[in-house]
């Protein structure tokens, strides 16, 4: 395969030399398109470089552009080619057409080789005071690249001062390029320094700039810290309008800027989200899944109080059928944080739709987990949530059952009648749970809540019979613990079961299982009272492995 491509590149190089094609713009462009598509496959393009050098002098701007592109991208170790190209580029940098001048500057600086520094310096110096904005933009960016190859030349030739001066340029793109160029060049000294005058100048112009420039200006302004409170509020007033901008990036950058400015005034931070809410909501409905996902990330990162600003429009965070899985997960994870007295039922209804999601076990697990969170967070919903969870357990899909068990083992529900009915159901269809995390969750729950049920004992017995075939460490440990708990409550009935279990577990190949069974054995040996207090001293719902 590589050989074929190599031959194709060689053929291409030959065609590029063909004098007939040289004269025909259209065919020339076609060939260059092929060159580009080879280049994007990551092929070695050194064979075509001589032709590219020649094409740099081509009268067609498009051909010139592409030739320069290919040359800069593939001439890294090829100083000879670079030297050949310089003459043409220097000539072009003084062309009468601003497009040609700008292009030459771009290519020249992108070569990034020591040998050309001198030429680049001269061209950039001329370009910075060019009458065409296009050339100035290119020249500013060229400074950055020049700085990479030879930092000293930028320092010595006074480019930095000139760049600072050019922040007051009439062309907004030049302004923004200057800002980011200075940020980059001075990165070792902490980037560009924004003083009061500069920040006020940029703010006064802010609303006349095009969107993308606004974004970068806002971004740079994050570095400025106002001297006093009056100044702070002046800035807030100017930037405030950006929170209602159509572009989501302007809004998010403005939010970030505000968050930085209001670090010491947390009560105002909530206000910011209130102002930005309509824009965020309208973009969530735009159907751009990737954008919605990024915006939800921003919202989720905010503090609890700020997030609750979105509570009354929680419907905008509901999932759509066509949402990709990653977006569904994000939305589901956020919904419990939006819950209030008023929207609780709606959110629970929405979540229950996804709890029984067949297409993706991950989404279903997350939805069930969210219901669990709701149960703990909102007192008024606790019963409804428990009922839902119990209801879902009627499902016949193994992954849903397993998900419910996994979520329940982390929940601290103090309700005996709930557990009683739940254990009965679990025991009746325990064979449907097939994955190991589901199984260990099932055993944990039976150990904790099932000690009054004969069915639970039967299930444990069934699992104990298969102990030697069981491969998963977690399941084995949970089974041992559950059996011990059962034994403490009903010593007589469980003696045989536990004895058999210990016998096999002590000889288990897994060290963890062996040591756990030894630990449990010695615990029981130290007396039933101690064992009871240790086994049932649940320090908190979650840490089932640290305490048992």
């Amino acid at each position: 395969m590589a050989k074929v491509v190599r031959r194709n590149v060689a053929l291409l190089a030959k065609q590029l030399h063909d004098p007939e094609i040289m004269g025909d713009y259209f065919q020339q462009r076609g060939l260059l398109a092929k060159v580009l598509s080879f280049a994007s496959q990551g092929e070695d393009m050194s064979l075509v470089l001589p032709s590219m050098v020649k094409l740099l002098a081509h009268p067609d701007l498009c051909v010139k552009k592409v030739a320069g592109e290919v040359l800069t991208q593939h001439s890294a170790g090829n100083a000879e080619m670079v030297l050949l190209a310089i003459n043409t580029l220097v000539q072009d940098a003084a062309d009468s057409n601003p497009m040609v001048r700008g292009l030459a500057l771009r290519t020249l600086s992108a070569l990034q080789q020591e040998s050309v520094t001198e030429h680049v310096e001269r061209a950039v110096s001329a370009g910075l005071s060019d009458s065409s904005a296009y050339v100035r933009r290119a020249a500013v960016l060229a400074c950055v690249r020049l700085c990479c190859t030879s930092p000293s030349s930028v320092q010595d030739s006074g480019f930095i001062d000139r760049l600072y001066g050019m922040i007051r340029d009439t062309d907004p793109v030049v302004v923004v390029n200057c800002l980011s160029a200075l940020e980059e060049i001075l990165s070792e000294e902490g980037g560009i320094v924004i003083n009061k005058n500069m920040s006020h100048y940029l703010l006064s112009k802010l609303h006349s700039y095009p969107t993308w420039v606004q974004i970068q200006v806002l971004d740079i302004l994050k570095k400025y810290h106002p001297g006093n409170e009056d100044e702070l509020f002046d800035i807030l007033n100017v930037v405030d309008g950006c929170l209602e901008n159509n572009s989501p990036t302007v809004v998010t950058t403005a939010i970030q800027l505000f968050m930085g400015l209001l670090e010491n005034l947390p009560h105002l931070q909530t206000e910011i989200f209130k102002r930005a809410k309509p824009t965020v909501i309208s973009h969530l409905g735009s159907g751009n899944a990737e954008l919605s996902c990024a915006l939800i990330d921003i919202v989720s990162r905010a503090s609890g109080e700020a997030v609750s600003q979105f509570s009354d429009s929680c419907q905008s965070f509901f999932c759509r059928n066509k949402d990709p899985y990653y977006l569904k997960s994000k939305k589901i994870a956020l919904l419990p944080r939006l819950v209030t007295e008023d929207n609780g039922d709606a959110i629970l209804e929405e979540l229950s739709l996804y709890c029984v999601d067949h297409s993706s076990p991950v989404v279903s697990l997350q939805a069930i987990r969210a219901v669990g969170l709701l149960q703990q967070k909102q007192e008024s919903l606790a019963d409804a949530c428990k009922e839902k969870l119990n209801g879902f357990y009627h499902s016949t899909s193994p992954h849903i059952l397993s998900n419910i068990l996994q979520v329940l083992q982390d929940l601290d529900i103090q309700d005996d009648s709930f557990w009683e009915s739940f254990t009965t159901r679990v025991c009746s269809n325990h064979h449907m749970v097939s994955d190991s995390s589901g199984k260990s969750a099932l055993l944990y729950l039976l150990g904790k809540h099932g000690h009054n049920s004969m069915d639970a004992y039967m299930v444990l017995e069934e699992y104990a019979d298969d102990f030697s075939e069981q491969k998963d460490q977690g399941v084995k440990i949970q089974l041992l613990t559950a059996a011990c708990k059962m034994f403490v409550k009903h010593p007589a009935e469980c003696q045989n079961l536990l004895g058999g279990l210990f016998e096999t577990a002590m000889d288990d190949t897994d060290l963890e299982v062996r040591s756990r069974s030894q630990f449990l054995y010695s615990l029981l040996a130290s007396g039933i009272g101690v064992a009871r207090s240790v086994l049932f001293s649940d320090g908190g719902g979650g840490d089932r492995f640290s305490v048992i």
């Binding site: 701007l61 992108a110 923004v176 420039v213 998010t252």
Partner: protein, 440 residues
């Protein structure tokens, strides 16, 4: 900021790759291998649009069958990277007419130039700096996937399809191009109903999309319903025929001086496609265009389950619901489905690997009703729980009808230099974004 841009197909082939010319931005890391590999490994829909691998940040958007990927060494704000990619996509669409695998291949040169300039000069006003010409690619008729990419190619008898996917940006070659403007009102419905058809949540997201091929820079006036109410959220809505919307935002080029009094949008449209207005409607003023009822019952002395689905198209008789598709997930115990449907040009298919029953109706006139009787055949020893059947999702497309009642009274182009009147096309389209019918 951005080190690299890639266009990747859904078969994980790299179509186009553009590396930043800044050495200190670029990374040696072969992202062109990483992203396609990840795509094959994890599968679509599971990769988050922003992820980090080997300290390189990846951002991507998916449009149709193509992925547009940007990488960076710095942690760029995901919103901005994604908006940048979305804008890039729109620019490509404006330049090439259609962005598909074929058109990207045909327009390598143009797109390369576009990416190159976009990386340097951001996304504003690139037109003057682009020197290559677009190659127009005929769109394949099978591209029926994404409403966003399909909108202007939507099949509609009143519009010549060929005009709708041509490049919007003028280059020297196409002097003969028609002078015309398309204005579409597109409404996407999000609704959840229970099995009896009672609506528990319903919302419509609407946009007024403009695709502008006008010569020169004329002003355009779009007049909406005179009695249109723009409610502040939470206000009580009036019933009756008047259209009302909850929330709306406008594009920068829209002048709203006449909006408060006479509901006229004055637009100075940039060339190409943009949404002049986006709005949303929710709550009581809306009626479902398609009603779906689902009944599930156990069959005595059998482990099979009977499912009856009824659909009624509740739009005026002059409109049709097209491509009506109802998908019903069934539990894994179901091995096959026997079916009986009442109407012509309907089809029920059982996709056994996805465990999905799909009932599709090509076209359903307003006011008509249809019914499908399904028997889910169960070969296992368990009973099927009703809980595991559904929820059903419904898809449809209705043209010449809006749910909010929003209409365009007139569309005028104020052109002083030319004497002839440009072609103006107005279309109304309603589709289901997410329509879920709970079954229990």
């Amino acid at each position: 900021m951005i080190a690299e841009l890639l266009i990747v197909t859904n078969r994980a082939a790299v179509l186009l790759r553009k590396i930043s010319t800044d050495r200190n931005e670029a990374h040696d890391f072969r992202s062109m291998d990483v992203f396609p590999k990840k795509l094959q490994l994890i599968g679509r829909g599971h990769i988050p649009p922003h992820f980090v691998e080997n300290d390189v940040h990846f951002y991507y958007i998916r449009r149709g069958s193509l992925y547009f990927v940007a990488t960076s060494k710095k942690d760029v704000c995901a919103v901005s990277a994604i908006e940048f990619l979305s804008r890039l996509y729109h620019m490509m669409k404006d330049f090439c007419g259609v962005v598909s695998e074929d058109s990207v291949r045909a327009n390598t040169l143009l797109l390369h130039e576009l990416l190159c300039d976009a990386m340097i000069a951001s996304t504003e006003k690139l037109k003057p700096y682009i020197t290559s010409d677009p190659v127009v690619v005929e769109r394949s008729p099978a591209a029926q996937e994404d409403i966003a990419t399909r909108l202007f190619g939507i099949e509609n008898r009143t519009t010549p399809v060929s005009t709708s996917h041509k490049p919007a940006v003028r280059t020297s070659l196409d002097e003969v191009k028609k002078n015309e403007i398309f204005v579409d009102i597109v409404e996407r419905l999000t609704a959840v109903t229970d099995a009896k058809g009672v609506v528990s949540h319903m919302e419509v997201q609407g946009t007024i999309n403009v695709k502008n091929f006008l010569l020169g820079h004329p002003q355009v006036k779009i007049a909406l319903n005179e009695d249109l109410q723009v409610n502040a959220a939470g206000q009580v809505k009036g019933y009756g025929n008047s259209a009302s919307i909850d929330r709306c935002t406008f594009h920068q080029c829209v002048d709203l001086t006449d909006f408060d009094n006479s509901r006229i949008l004055t637009v100075s449209p940039p060339p190409g496609e943009f949404s002049a207005m986006t709005y949303s409607v929710s709550g009581s003023g809306l009626n479902l265009p398609v009603r779906v009822l689902v009944f599930i019952s156990d069959i005595p002395n059998s482990r099979d389950v009977d499912v009856t689905v009824r659909v009624r198209c509740a739009v005026p008789a002059s409109c049709n619901a097209a491509y009506l598709v109802i998908k019903l997930p069934v539990p894994s115990a179901v091995s096959s489905v026997s079916q009986h449907v009442t109407g012509p040009s309907q089809e029920v298919a059982f996709r056994s690997e996805e465990k999905l029953v799909v009932w599709s109706i090509r076209k359903m006139p307003g006011g008509e009703e249809s019914m499908a009787q399904l028997r889910l055949i169960n070969h296992t020893s368990h009973h099927i729980s009703k809980l595991d059947v559904g929820p059903a999702s419904v898809d449809f497309e209705i043209s010449k009808h809006t749910l909010s009642g929003l209409q365009i009274r007139f569309l005028r182009v104020f052109e002083h230099e030319h004497s002839y009147v440009p072609h103006r096309w107005i279309r109304y389209i309603t589709t289901a974004d997410s329509f879920t019918v709970k079954t229990n």
